[in-house]
């Protein structure tokens, strides 16, 4: 498992905005918008569990950290490797699993938000090619007022029943 794999974060600060600020014919010193300059979100433990070769939907999991003093909001994601990406949340209640689309997800100031099995996850619709363990996919995460972040996410093998080897073995 490469769960612990910490990815370098490529924060493309509000590309257009930053570029606009530099290219503006304005005489004032070029200054990146404060919102983008201050955000320093981190991504860790990103992975996409391999699915059946014919799977039409996969999930991506990761943890977003926000060391800054200002709350951030994930408002969407896209990927060149999938037809569509949505953020969903699984709710489990009385033995029933329900999913609902999340329009935005808070990453609290000085805190983190985990996207993990049974909770928030990125729903990756219609893989553009068959994906298997060892491949990587690209996710572009969109944040309100803080630009987009490009993340390279490894596809990992589903790790069988790795837990609890202490079972009694009856025969």
């Amino acid at each position: 498992m490469r769960d612990q794999f910490v990815l370098p974060v490529a924060l493309l600060m509000a590309g257009g905005l930053a570029f606009g600020a530099v290219a503006a014919p304005d005489k004032t010193p070029a200054k990146a918008p404060a919102t983008a300059a201050q955000s320093s979100l981190t991504v860790s433990g990103a992975y996409v569990p391999e699915g059946p070769p014919t799977a039409k939907v996969l999930a991506a999991y990761l943890t977003l950290g926000n060391p800054s003093a200002r709350a951030e909001h994930l408002i969407g994601a896209t990927s060149p490797d999938f037809g569509k990406v949505e953020v969903h949340r699984t709710y489990r209640q009385d033995g029933v699993a329900r999913m609902s689309k999340a329009e935005q997800v808070l990453i609290p100031a000085k805190g983190k938000t985990a996207f993990e099995p049974g909770g928030y996850h990125f729903m990756l619709f219609r893989p553009q090619r068959a994906l298997k363990a060892g491949d990587t996919v690209t996710l572009q995460l969109q944040f309100r007022g803080a630009g987009t972040m490009t993340v390279t996410v490894p596809v990992t093998k589903r790790g069988g029943p790795t837990h609890d080897h202490g079972h009694h073995g009856h025969h």
Partner: protein
């Protein structure tokens, strides 16, 4: 006079404590009755296994699969759909883990993934999807009426997201995540909640028959 206040409250307090103890006692009794069989620790076992309608499902190539075809075997049944990215793959991986944990006893078991989304899942797709997790997990689906009879029969629940009715393709399906265990007579013998680790059914299995 101030000292009288707490004194007056004392009988009330005692009654409250007695009630508390009584409540704990009842709770413990309820609990111990539910887990009467200490060897059967993980699932909910039916003291009287419950009859389940003999539905006709569609296996790979649309070949009809009757539940009765599996009499003589235990059936581990999980309901879901293949466009399910989070819960179903994890549950199917757990189901595969159960089969592995059972070792040779797995020969007495037919694990089954029943898609409750025949609108999008063809029988061939469900079969392929299920076998990815373990070659012995049989992926099936069925027409809506048969699915409804089966889910009602075992006490499972599902419904399609509103987008399904609107004709959109990317809808969610809400569904039970339990594993339903039918005994070799085709009766519902036990139910396992879907949010535990693999190996629970395997551990209980020796005591299921008893």
């Amino acid at each position: 006079m101030d000292g009288l206040g707490p004194m007056k409250q004392r009988p009330f307090l005692i009654v409250l404590i007695l009630f508390g103890l009584l409540a704990v006692g009842f709770g413990w009794q309820f609990q111990s009755r539910q887990w009467a069989d200490p060897a059967f620790a993980h699932g909910k076992k039916y003291p009287e296994p419950k009859a389940v309608p003999d539905v006709v499902l569609a296996g790979a190539d649309g070949k009809p699969v009757r539940l009765a075809d599996f009499s003589g075997k235990y059936v581990f049944m999980f309901f879901g759909y293949t466009h399910c990215p989070d819960v179903c793959p994890a549950s199917l991986q757990n189901l595969a883990g159960e089969l592995k944990a059972m070792g040779p006893a797995a020969d007495k078991v037919q694990a089954m993934f029943v898609s409750v989304d025949p609108q999008r899942d063809t029988p061939a797709e469900v079969a392929r999807y299920a076998s990815y997790f373990h070659p012995d997990i049989l992926g099936v689906t069925a027409p809506r009426e048969e699915l409804d009879r089966l889910t009602k029969g075992v006490g499972a629940y599902y419904f399609l997201g509103s987008d399904a009715e609107a004709g959109r393709d990317d809808y969610d399906v809400t569904h039970s995540m339990s594993v339903y265990v039918l005994n070799p007579k085709g009766r519902l013998a036990a139910v396992y909640s879907g949010d535990g680790k693999a190996g629970r059914i395997a551990q209980d299995f020796a005591f299921l028959a008893g």
